[in-house]
């Protein structure tokens, strides 16, 4: 886990050792003509082979960052390396290896989905025109659009448009996929399919950078996470580390008569912040006690056993790791879905 103001520790997060990072930025900054600093001093590090969840509320600078990664927007300051090569100078060499979805799909409305993919492929100077038809069919198949391939794009539903955008990114094998809010507009089933696709791509050896303002939608597929807030990268690193080291809690449900005894026993065990949690869900006659488990605390099974030995009614016992959302709220002091 790397707080961005500490020196970056790429080696620790390297999913494929030795290979240059899939995405590496230094001090990446964008100040728009309006004076707004949309992205502020980003040191982003996405190791090869990672599924990197690029998370942050609406307006936190995710899309602007992605535009700079891909050479669409010129940084005010800072550098970008994709797959070890400098952007935008090496765009012609690097971008054929990168599939991208940026701020929603966009195609010609009066062309069919199939014709649109053909046009995207015809624009790629590095693909073989003889295999185009086959690759277009495969890409359509992969996102479940084969049957609707001859419909005009304008007749597509939002979900179908999003799928076509993914198909365009998958017209050829890629080393890196940059997917900006790929689940936007999809129903729960579509969202599951995108997660499945991301996992499949990662299994095939690709690095995936996937952004979202809805953390819960992609949290589960990520190996790494970066959290944006107000243009800054607040936190990045392997997901497991983010949630493991930070605030593991013992949650004890007991009976009203045993609240005081329970708290006393928890404190005796070296959990000084033990407290009754009045807002916890659950029936009123089963109050909840919460206690942080610092590294030097006894392991959870001993805590449970000690409570039983002390005669405290144990209705339920649980160890809870904070969700990423809780980590985020803790970091920023604000909810996840607030607009800027």
């Amino acid at each position: 886990m790397t707080r961005t103001h500490e020196p970056p520790q790429p080696a620790a997060a390297e999913a494929v050792p030795g290979a240059p990072a899939a995405v590496a930025t230094r001090g990446l900054t964008k100040r728009f003509a309006t004076g707004q600093v949309a992205v502020d001093g980003l040191d982003l590090h996405v190791p090869r082979g990672a599924v990197f969840g690029f998370l942050g509320p609406n307006g936190s600078g995710k899309t602007t960052t992605i535009r700079m990664l891909l050479g669409l927007v010129r940084p005010t300051a800072g550098t970008v390396h994709l797959l070890g090569e400098p952007m935008p100078d090496a765009a012609a060499r690097v971008l054929p290896r990168v599939g991208a979805l940026v701020e929603g799909p966009a195609f010609h409305p009066y062309l069919s989905g199939r014709a649109n993919l053909g046009r995207v492929d015809a624009a790629d100077a590095t693909t073989d025109p003889r295999t185009r038809a086959r690759r277009v069919e495969e890409a359509l198949e992969r996102v479940g659009l084969r049957a609707a391939g001859d419909k005009r794009y304008r007749q597509y539903s939002l979900g179908m448009k999003q799928r076509l955008g993914l198909a365009a990114a998958l017209l050829r094998p890629r080393d890196l996929l940059v997917l900006d809010e790929p689940t936007n507009g999809l129903d729960p089933q579509g969202t599951r399919e995108v997660r499945h696709l991301v996992r499949e791509l990662a299994d095939g050896g690709a690095t995936v950078l996937v952004s979202s303002h809805l953390l819960a939608e992609i949290e589960q597929v990520c190996t790494h996470v970066g959290i944006m807030g107000r243009g800054r990268l607040l936190l990045q690193g392997p997901r497991a580390e983010l949630t493991a080291r930070r605030g593991v809690h013992a949650v004890v449900r007991t009976t009203p008569a045993h609240v005081e005894a329970g708290l006393a026993e928890l404190r005796r065990l070296g959990l000084p912040d033990a407290r009754a949690d009045a807002r916890a869900p659950g029936p009123a006659d089963e109050p909840t006690l919460v206690a942080g488990l610092p590294d030097d605390a006894p392991p959870p099974q001993e805590v449970a056993a000690a409570l039983v030995r002390a005669g405290v009614d144990l209705v339920a016992f649980d160890v809870r790791r904070p969700s990423l959302e809780e980590v985020f709220v803790e970091l920023t002091g604000e909810g996840f879905d607030v607009a800027r």
Binding site: G71, A125, P129
Partner: protein, 294 residues
């Protein structure tokens, strides 16, 4: 073998897989032409232009034996005696407004249309280099301008032949040249008019790189053509007249003199070349540096 020896062939294969292939520019250009010339709005515009010679021909045909015959602007009066003149008369009528309107729409849309649809960002990340993309857009806009002029010319020729028949061409001076030479002269007129549109295409392309609102770029392009011809009518501004976009448009008539003055034609084309150079450079400078945040 050291790891480096093993990696080298793999890297070479990798490089080959991502190397540009022969004919790539041609493929993109074909795709672009199909898009521009296949687009329904553009086809409607071309059909609209093609209707001008048909309507003009029919009006002249139906009134040819009445008191109204033989009236009208130059070239129009000659149509009934020789169908070849229908081509020239139709171009003459379309030049002030219809042709600039059509070409302004197509060239103003070139980049701004892709920006508005959001497809521009996807072309750039394919990747298509910005200079290459602008070049392809310029070629397609020029091809559309050529198609517009040719639509008038070809339909004018056919309609003229059917309604009035083709014959030896009577030039402005009153001299008559044989049909074959006459066809060549009219082809020269068509070519000159087509080349006269290149400056406007460049202007439209430049405006198109400035905005994500295609209608704005289209309107601005048409306004440039209109303002240019208004300025061309103010004698007070005579000193700038030679450099205006529209001043030399009607010099195509030179082709219909017994001895066309090459100097006059060359001057008209040189002015167009200058507009192309200036606005082409501006478009390039803008497009290769602009943030694409559409």
């Amino acid at each position: 073998m050291s790891p480096a020896d093993v990696a080298a062939p793999a890297r070479a294969a990798e490089d080959a897989r991502y190397a540009p292939r022969r004919g790539a520019l041609g493929r993109l250009l074909r795709s672009e032409l199909r898009l521009v010339l296949g687009r329904r709005r553009n086809v409607v515009l071309l059909v609209g232009l093609a209707l001008v010679p048909v309507l003009l021909g029919l009006v002249l045909f139906l009134t040819r034996d009445t008191a109204l015959a033989g009236q009208g602007p130059p070239f129009v009066t000659s149509v009934t005696s020789n169908g070849l003149f229908l081509v020239v008369a139709s171009l003459f009528l379309c030049l002030p407004f219809l042709l600039p309107l059509t070409i302004g729409i197509a060239s103003g849309d070139a980049v701004a249309g892709e920006a508005a649809a959001g497809t521009l960002r996807y072309l750039l990340v394919v990747p298509v280099g910005r200079t290459r993309l602008l070049l392809v857009k310029a070629c397609a806009a020029l091809a559309f301008a050529a198609a517009a002029v040719l639509a008038i010319a070809v339909v004018g020729l056919v309609a003229g032949a059917v309604l009035f028949g083709l014959g030896d061409l009577t030039l402005l001076s009153g001299d008559t040249i044989p049909l074959s030479a006459g066809v060549l002269r009219v082809a020269g007129v068509v070519a000159y008019v087509g080349l006269s549109m290149t400056g406007l295409v460049a202007v439209g392309l430049f405006f198109s790189t400035l905005t994500e609102v295609p209608v704005g770029a289209m309107a601005a392009t048409v306004v440039v053509a209109v303002v240019s011809s208004v300025l061309g009518q103010l004698p007070q501004l005579e000193v700038i007249h030679p450099y205006l976009l529209t001043t030399h448009w009607f010099d195509f008539a030179e082709m219909l003199r017994i001895r066309p003055d090459g100097g006059v034609l060359a001057e008209g084309l040189a002015v167009q070349a200058a507009w192309v150079a200036v606005f082409g450079s501006l478009a390039w400078a803008r497009f290769t540096t602009a943030d694409v945040s559409s």
